[in-house]
């Protein structure tokens, strides 16, 4: 990531990820307090803010326990009058929404901007959610950019709009916008010192109940009505005429024949499709999703014969266009999801959009996308699937291996999984998962299942999830005397999103942070049976896990082992050397225990002798596989160097090692 592009004070054009451009915009807007919980596709906003905070003392950046707390933190800052910013992924929006709906009522004083990032195609999410409804149902303004430049401009503008209306402003993105990079033209970075304001001088009421709520609601409706007419909001929507080659600004009344209404990344697919078709059309690009610019849409569709609405997920815009068309142009032909031309699921791309536009505009497709895809897919199928899996040296792989053995017969158990790297247990053929819903949900589900099923219930959460949403479920399980086993996979960081810190993490974002010890929390809550294990002692852990599984009540196992990516990065930075393991070919009898039901990416079969082989460039030397081998055929390479770690083991060194071992005839 190009931190220097974000920090450079002079105006410039830089190659930036949208998530970086968003941070630049917030910094230029003089944001003072920012708080987040990580989650794809918005994590790089947090990461960039975190890194920026090391270079600037004019802002506070925190990683919060969850999205709700993050939103409340920045709302508190905005109540006092400072500018606040947070971002969250779609499902994080649900967690924060309880506060968000009331916050819409009270409003804010300092500018407060919230990015909500959806994930069409559920690339890295539990569901394909449509966050646009948050803006609509909470009566909050919502903007939607389609590329990094627009994201930069909209976020910067959003702070001003937030203060103008005393309202939170939402910015909705999707994965393909968040993870889009391009050249972004940015302005001057001019920041003011961090000065606390006097609450006494600034205060107004931020309490909302009963009669107050009714007053706020009336004000809220007035605000939304004003925003609808506000030129600042209207300027974010754009009517264009595309002549087949170039885009020109047009007036809504000019639109004749066929028009297209779109927003977000779908706009880029529309433009590229029109370019490829070489066909003219009027395009209304919406930058404001709430309040919907009804007059503008009305003017645009009034003279049209057909309108195509191109948007991913819900027919959100389409619904409004239908309503407006009833009055403005009842004969208008609508092409969209309801007409069956587009799906309400997955993400779009040019081949999907161009197919519909070619049909509607009466043009031949310039290329047989589907046919080409099908022909090539036949050839591509030869490549075996490569889904994400636990990294080499991941503590979870070792914990689950031991758990499986402790269970003996997994069919006697119900396993309630949760959100984190361990979710992959649901994908892993070596694993199994009976349910997997949302952050912390495993605890409540497990509680219901232990009331209802004959099988013993086992539930899993990670350390970050423990603090994020599992605690109330744990309190509930203790209070209601649940009979089940909770396994807390403590790998020190929020691993899945890129090893960010959390309240129990040894890693710190701010010097004033206090580390919270999970074991002490559980003891304080009154858990009587706590077993702490070292994740990497897989063989020894079988018995300890068995003991926990047999316990007649709530037992908790804390499996401690640092995330491999985090641990070895820190280890290398501290000057440590990675010492890979190797297979002693003489001793290997092809039992394959190291491969069967373990799934380490560093272990493969050597096709020359069908024995196991460890790839030194992948192995990080966790040594768990050595515990699994019944023939004691796996050893650390350090052994070969008389206990000395070799600084850098190349593939050629490794080949040499194998030869040395063969000559020695094993250990």
């Amino acid at each position: 990531m190009s931190l220097k592009e974000v920090l450079k004070e002079e105006p410039h054009v830089g190659y930036m990820l949208t998530n970086e451009a968003i941070v630049r915009a917030a910094l230029e807007a003089d944001v003072k307090v920012a708080a987040f919980y990580p989650g794809s596709p918005q994590t790089e906003i947090l990461d960039t803010f975190d890194r920026v905070s090391h270079y600037r003392d004019d802002l506070v950046v925190e990683i919060a326990a969850n999205e709700k707390v993050a939103l409340e933190t920045v709302a508190g800052a905005a109540f006092v009058g400072l500018r606040g910013f947070t971002s969250m992924k779609s499902v994080g929006g649900n967690v924060a929404s309880d506060t968000l709906y009331s916050l819409a009522y009270t409003g804010v004083k300092g500018g407060l901007v919230v990015v909500i990032a959806d994930d069409p195609y559920a690339h890295s999410s539990q569901s394909e959610q449509d966050g646009r409804w948050f803006g609509y149902t909470a009566y909050l303004p919502m903007l939607e950019p389609s590329n990094p430049q627009e994201a930069y401009e909209m976020v910067k503008k959003a702070f001003g709009l937030s203060e103008k209306y005393g309202s939170v402003v939402l910015v909705r993105t999707t994965t393909r916008v968040n993870h889009q990079s391009g050249l972004v033209k940015v302005g001057k970075l001019k920041r003011t010192p961090f000065d606390k304001l006097s609450w006494r001088e600034n205060r107004r009421s931020y309490a909302t109940v009963g009669s107050l709520a009714r007053k706020f609601k009336a004000e809220l409706l007035e605000k939304v009505a004003k925003m609808k007419e506000d030129p600042e909001f209207l300027a974010l929507n754009r009517v264009e005429y595309f002549d087949g080659k170039e885009v020109k600004v047009a007036k809504p009344e000019e639109a004749k024949g066929i028009g297209i209404i779109t927003s977000g990344v779908a706009y880029s697919y529309v433009l590229e499709s029109l370019q490829k078709l070489g066909r003219e059309a009027y395009v209304l690009k919406l930058g404001v999703l709430n309040p919907i610019p009804e007059k503008l849409i009305g003017d645009f569709i009034e003279g049209l014969e057909r309108v195509v609405v191109v948007e991913e997920l819900f027919p959100y815009i389409e619904g409004f266009v239908r309503q407006i068309a009833k009055e403005k142009n009842p004969d208008l032909e609508m092409i969209g999801k309801k007409s069956g031309h587009f799906l309400e699921m997955l993400e779009y791309n040019v081949p999907i959009v161009i197919k519909v536009l070619a049909e509607v505009l009466g043009r031949e497709l310039p290329f047989d996308y589907e046919g080409h895809f099908k022909r090539m897919w036949e050839l591509a199928k030869l490549a075996p699937p490569r889904m994400p899996t636990f990294c080499a040296g991941c503590p979870h792989r070792a914990t689950f291996w031991a758990l499986r053995r402790a269970m003996g017969r997994p069919e006697n158990y119900y396993l309630a999984n949760d959100i984190g790297c361990y979710s992959m247990l649901a994908l892993e053929h070596i694993g199994w998962t009976d349910s997997l819903l949302a952050m912390g949900a495993s605890l409540g589900i497990a509680h219901g299942v232990q009331h209802s099923a004959q099988e013993r219930v086992v539930t899993v959460v990670g350390d970050s999830t423990f603090f994020h949403a599992a605690l109330p479920g744990i309190v509930n399980a203790i209070h209601n005397n649940a009979k089940m086993t909770l396994i807390i996979l403590d790998n020190a960081v929020t691993a899945m999103t890129g090893q960010q810190a959390h309240p129990g993490s040894p890693k710190k974002v701010n010097p004033y942070e206090k580390r919270i010890d999970i074991e002490s929390v559980l003891r304080g809550l009154g858990v009587e049976k706590i077993v702490v294990i070292d994740s990497f002692q897989a063989r020894k852990n079988i018995g300890k896990l068995r003991e926990a599984l047999k316990y007649d009540g709530l037992s908790v196992v804390i499996s401690r082992g640092e995330c491999a990516l985090y641990h070895f990065r820190e280890y290398r930075r501290a000057g440590g050397k990675i010492v890979p393991y190797f297979v002693d070919k003489e001793a290997c009898e092809r039992a394959y225990n190291c491969i069967r039901d373990f799934g380490c990416p560093a272990i493969v079969v050597d096709e020359t002798d069908l024995k196991a082989k460890i790839l030194p460039e992948v192995c990080v030397g966790c040594g768990v596989c050595a515990q699994l081998c019944p023939h004691n055929a796996i050893h650390s390479t350090a052994v070969l160097y008389g206990g000395e770690d070799k600084p850098h083991v190349t593939i050629e060194d490794y080949r040499e090692l194998e030869q040395i071992m063969l000559r020695r005839g094993g250990q």
């Binding site: 190009s2 054009v13 830089g14 190659y15 990820l17 794809s40 994590t43 690339h123 890295s124 590329n147 994965t175 393909r176 993870h179 889009q180 990079s181 391009g182 050249l183 990344v265 880029s268 433009l271 040019v350 081949p351 290329f367 996308y369 080409h372 090539m376 897919w377 050839l379 591509a380 030869l382 490549a383 075996p384 699937p385 490569r386 889904m387 994400p388 899996t389 636990f390 080499a392 991941c394 790297c421 053929h429 070596i430 899945m496 999103t497 090893q499 990516l565 394959y592 491969i595 069967r596 799934g599 380490c600 990416p601 272990i603 493969v604 096709e607 460039e617 190349t650 593939i651 050629e652």
Partner: protein, 200 residues
């Protein structure tokens, strides 16, 4: 020029596209990239779309890529539907077998690993102009196996119709890699560039 960068998580795929993006910024050439990150685990399939010069959306349409630059051959084949007819594939020569494939192998669900020759045969059947580079070997020669991605960036730069000059690309490499690894990466870039020139 439309380029697909692909490989296995952990090989440094996003960095490859960032180097080219950085070079575009230096030359003022329009560029749009669509990356897929999220899960930080290693071993998964990773792909980045990049449109240099033209292209409006972050995703290259099927059959629209001029080049597939692959750090792993199976990944080059997996995304071959993005390649335009007669397009170029530059691939690293070393296969990385996924643990599922290995497990299926020892459990007898498959008879053998898919081979490099089979993969290459299908890439050729797809109508690609294929260039094979042992990037790990060249990267180790340069001083660090981690620089295999920069070897391939060097190879990409050597393509006759690549729109950015070598000097600008080298500046972008220097600006994009960690300071203490600059020298090794410059060597890696040069080795990749030279290897590709010889293949052309």
């Amino acid at each position: 020029m439309n380029v697909i960068y692909c490989g296995v998580g952990g090989q440094g795929i996003v960095l490859m596209s960032n180097i080219v993006g950085e070079a575009c910024a230096r030359k003022g050439i329009h560029v749009v990239s669509g990356e897929l990150h999220g899960l930080s685990q290693r071993s998964g399939s990773v792909i980045v779309h990049q449109r240099i010069g033209d292209g409006l959306s972050p995703l290259i349409p099927y059959g629209g890529a001029d080049v597939i630059l692959a750090l792993e051959p199976m990944e080059a084949l997996r995304y071959v539907y993005f390649l335009k007819p007669g397009g170029t594939v530059i691939t690293n020569t070393r296969l990385i077998h996924h643990p599922y494939e290995t497990e299926n192998f020892v459990k007898g669900k498959i008879e053998k690993y898919v081979t490099y020759e089979e993969i290459v045969e299908n890439i050729k059947k797809a109508g690609a102009k294929l260039y094979e580079i042992d990037a790990i070997k060249l990267a180790e020669e340069a001083g660090t196996a981690l620089a295999q991605n920069v070897v391939l960036v060097g190879a990409l730069t050597a393509l006759p119709d690549f729109p950015i000059d070598k000097e600008t690309m080298l500046e972008a490499v220097k600006a994009s890699v960690p300071e203490k690894a600059v020298e090794a990466n410059v060597r890696a870039f040069e080795l990749g560039y030279k290897a590709m020139k010889e293949l052309l």
